[in-house]
Symmetry: C2
Subunit: 147 residues, 2 copies
DNA sequence: TTGAAAATATTGAATATTCAAGAATTGAAG
DNA sequence: CTTCAATTCTTGAATATTCAATATTTTCAA
């Protein structure tokens, strides 16, 4: 009997592919909702992270919103132009820049949050409560086990 | 009692974010392995889809490998230069181009497959057999329910 | 204290992706 | 048949991302 081989598994059965596909689909839906306010998903993430009111360094932010450093810098430049966020030099470590959300940013963030909640509710409806929370649990644990 | 609100759920609890994070992590690992052969993940996907030996139109391919049309065209241009794949005009519908994998492409694809299998096995080890198949199942069903 | 190494953020050039327009072919209605 | 809309793919310009290099500040060992 031949040794069972996984080498010609169709692409659609690879975990990496399923994740990419699901991510693409969910992201597309979210993008569609947020486009009502003309804001890309990454900017919503940034606003959401900053909305705790604390100052976050660029490095911290980049990690949290899944962007690499130079990309974040340029996106923040745009958001500063739009007066959604602002930079403050960290007094304790002057290499760092602390990012803060502005009042305008807070207002926008609230609107975006409710658009995002709409989507999550839509997913809950079509996909189910149980599946959703189970999926979240598994994803968290996958992420954990990858570090 | 206040109405329970999901509007200030931390970003890390959103399904869209968890998917993005997991996708990023797994993709990074896969990228690292495939970089041994100097091939981006998307090219591996293309080779894998074409490795059934049939001709696939650009539209079909774009859908299958999660790239939009112009991006795919340009990536295919590179792969044609590298003689990994080749174009044939579809005799039944001359608007279409059918893509085929070359012999050189097949050889490369085999090497890439085994690198990818390495990764899947690594995931199985650290994450577990049960979790992996359960996660795959849930992802498939999420993708289904999104169409 | 000094000087070298590490950490942090930005910049500019190279590369890649996307959007909108174009070219070729097919389908289908009049 | 003819013409007009739809489909398929490619192209070029605009935009975004990435890589490598730079500037600044901090850390730490000698």
């Amino acid at each position: 009997m031949a040794k069972p081989s996984k080498e010609n598994t169709p692409i659609t059965e690879h975990l990496a592919y399923l994740l990419a596909q699901a991510n693409r689909e969910i992201n597309r839906q979210l993008e569609l909702r947020l486009s009502k306010e003309g804001v890309p998903v990454e900017q919503w993430r940034i606003l959401k992270v900053l909305s705790d009111g604390d100052g976050h360094s660029m490095g911290e932010l980049a990690e949290a919103v899944l962007l690499n450093h130079p990309t974040l810098t340029k996106m923040i430049d745009r958001m500063v132009s739009d007066t959604l966020v602002y930079r403050v030099q960290d007094p304790n470590d002057r290499r760092k820049v602390l990012m803060f959300i502005s009042d305008r940013g807070k207002v926008l963030c609230k609107k975006l949050n409710s658009l995002a909640v709409d989507q999550e509710e839509h997913i809950l409806e079509s996909y189910g409560d149980k599946s959703t929370s189970e999926l979240k649990r598994l994803l968290e644990s996958l992420i954990d086990s990858s570090n």
